[in-house]
């Protein structure tokens, strides 16, 4: 592998360098293939460089030329090299260096968006993205304190959904204030039973921090305080599970 890329890829493990370079890493067969074959995407992520193993070349030999044309640089490398420069423990397939899309404001059309208030765990952010994608939600509005969407662990945990769900980082208080004509749903211990809530098709679901829930500063902006009823004794549900329950109850209510 070119020395220049070895250095770049290692730097891209860190948020600071991702921001400086405007680039991030996509690792492993599933994510790389989804990226290189993504169609009809409103906001496609552009690949810059592709590194692939002999195994990847053999498995995808029919499309390899098409893949190679999409990138400025490509190189056949060993599994050892992919693993030594990348973040995955095992990667016998491929890696792409891709361009971070611009942090464009997301306007809310006839749709539900998720607002993430201080989600710290990369695995949780990835899982939430995958759940959003399952339920047909394509926009995440993230507080500045939410972990970086383009971190390798997040991208891996989205299982390819990072291509269909956009993340926009901003001051969440300002964003919610600007959208206060819409219903803004959030989970609280003393909220109304979510089973009794009639959801609108359009609005915002706010997902709070893993330990502290929705920050106090945002509380007054929530128009619908809801509770997932508890029938046993577990103290809490994790942020990913709570997101899934909110999305499922929303979809169940509004239908298709």
């Amino acid at each position: 592998m070119l020395k220049k890329y070895q250095k770049l890829i290692k730097a891209l493990h860190q948020k600071k360098f991702r921001n400086e370079e405007g680039l991030f890493l996509v690792e492993g067969e599933k994510s790389v293939i989804e990226l290189l074959t993504a169609k009809n995407n409103m906001n496609p992520i552009k690949a810059e460089a592709l590194f692939y193993t002999e195994k990847f070349a053999q498995t995808h030999h029919k499309f390899l030329t098409t893949f190679q044309k999409q990138v400025t640089y490509n190189e056949l490398v060993t599994q050892n090299i992919l693993e030594s420069v990348g973040t995955l423990q095992t990667n016998d397939s491929a890696m792409v260096v891709a361009h971070i899309p611009p942090n464009n404001p997301l306007t809310i059309k006839q749709e539900m968006v998720l607002a993430l208030a201080d989600i710290r765990d990369p695995g949780n952010l990835g899982t939430i993205t995958r759940i959003a994608d399952w339920y047909g939600i394509s926009k995440l509005v993230c507080s500045e304190t939410t972990t970086d969407f383009y971190a390798p662990k997040v991208i891996a945990a989205t299982m390819g959904s990072f291509l269909r769900v956009k993340a926009y980082y901003c001051d969440l208080g300002t964003y919610l204030s600007e959208n206060k004509h819409l219903p803004i749903y959030g989970a609280f211990l003393d909220g109304k039973n979510i089973y009794e809530q009639t959801f609108e098709k359009q609005g915002i679901i706010v997902i709070g921090n893993e330990s502290n829930g929705i920050p106090a500063a945002l509380e007054s902006l929530i128009t619908h305080r809801l509770t997932i009823p508890r029938f046993g004794q577990a103290e809490s549900l994790n942020a990913g599970i709570a997101t899934a329950i909110f999305c499922d109850n929303w979809r169940r209510c509004i239908g298709k």
Copy 2:
């Protein structure tokens, strides 16, 4: 720390030795405190030995004598020792060596139970246990291929719910056959929309393997093939999320 316990605790990282000794590890403040203060539990887990730091002793000085009386052996140790013999990266609090309860068959009363068909990831098993506890489900019937409930990673991921949810390992095909008079629900890609299902209060929800779903050998035993409707393009939901959606839809349907 006594040499004897150092050796024992390290051995208990492995399933083989947990089974030989009939003992397992409970690590960290939350789990240890829940274990030592558990009340009215139908199947309490007996603590054998308690190791605690100076910090734990100070925080819980009011109850320390009570805690000490519950165990055969107790010892004040340093954080370094807890971390070197245990499995947690950080543990400045306490650890208990506890007795694995007998693997007694679980009969189904007027209740829902979860049947786990080949759940391999310890984190998933822990999360499923916590979700079961939230929704008031206290019994897990696990295939022999399901990862060990008493593994340190599972116990940690249950966040204390291991004290309120029992696990029974058996041949799942036989178990389902013996309970075929009950509704047996399972997730399939071609099932009926779960939103249209009327659930019974009593029955079994079968949760399949992370990659392969419900094993083919069990398919014919499922009386209700259900699908969580998908509105976007994610390929799948993980086993924990699917469990939460099933439990939530069941509870929403039957009420209290």
